[in-house]
Symmetry: C2
Subunit: 225 residues, 2 copies
Amino acid sequence: MKYTGNYVAPTLTVDAVLFQLINNELNVILIERPNDPFKGLWALPGGYNPVGETTHDALQRIVQEKAGINIDKDLSYIEQLYTFDTVARDPRGHAVSVTYMGCGRNIEWTKSEAHTASFAVSSLPKTAYDHTDIIRYAHERLIAKLSYTNAIYAFLPQKFTLTELQRAYEAILVRPLDKRNFRKKFLGLNLIRETDEMKREGAHRPARLYMFNSSTLETLDRSFE
Amino acid sequence: MKYTGNYVAPTLTVDAVLFQLINNELNVILIERPNDPFKGLWALPGGYNPVGETTHDALQRIVQEKAGINIDKDLSYIEQLYTFDTVARDPRGHAVSVTYMGCGRNIEWTKSEAHTASFAVSSLPKTAYDHTDIIRYAHERLIAKLSYTNAIYAFLPQKFTLTELQRAYEAILVRPLDKRNFRKKFLGLNLIRETDEMKREGAHRPARLYMFNSSTLETLDRSFE
């Protein structure tokens, strides 16, 4: 059995929401569009996914080409986010985009590429397509993941203080947390352990450095047992 | 700017994993394929998504046509699950499938359609394509959701006993739970409330009926505050 007579597929695209913390703010990497549609507006790194290539492989190739970022090596973590499919999202015709969310530390894009830049999620520029909606959706997913996984590890150095941990949470949740409650609840999750090392932060006395027990994504246990 | 010269899109399809509990077992609805490829094997309800139709609208149309199920009205809950995209999953050519997971109670399919049936997830028949993998993936997602949402409401009647609630959890987790610990932990989540009504179960004394506080999907709070 062959494809039904007149079947025509939508265009398939891939787009990446690449998050990192810069100066205690959640940032996303965008590329200024050199051509219409949306010339001069900012877009997520992404492009066309042709027949014969998986969405991961297409994204890997395109983000490497356009921003010089290797999604397998330069991120702490990447996952498929959602497939956006409204008919009018691309003025050139119906394009369905399989999006990914990647998180990392010190993600470096090609410096020679003048059209790539990092923006705080709280003050995005005017974006192309529905990319602001996609970034908001990714931010909501990330906030949700912080409540049931160890996903925050993706943004932190291997060893970090509890203050750095709290600052990372606050940056993503976009609100201050009470130091005492945060420490009590977070330490109760048994996700991190003390190291023997201390770190001096400003004029304060040295603070203990901690490590995550796992450096891959783990879902917290709530087993009812 | 038009599409790049020779761009050819993969075929786009949609597929639904429709879960319900039958005799305290997690079941999924499958359709026996009338034609090749995979003639006589069982497949998720699904089909081609043409240009100009969203994945939700395509799924709504196809599941109604093939199984007589209205995904908006006959389910308690439906969400986009994942987009499966390996190149060889369809022998006719590269087809990318946007999948959905739907959960409900007493989901009725067209009785005149002899090729639609319900199977326990623990004893699936031989399936077409990668549909067994998709069902396993959906089952894992559902198990994870039970630990941080009220998703179990989708499988239960409006009023239920704590025994019925525990049986539903056990069916999906595929393991027994300790009654005392389960009740203590679940009631501590403040997801359900007592009603004034009682229900007699077999020879036991009447059991209290409970209701969920919300009949839509809610994520449990773990706010660190």
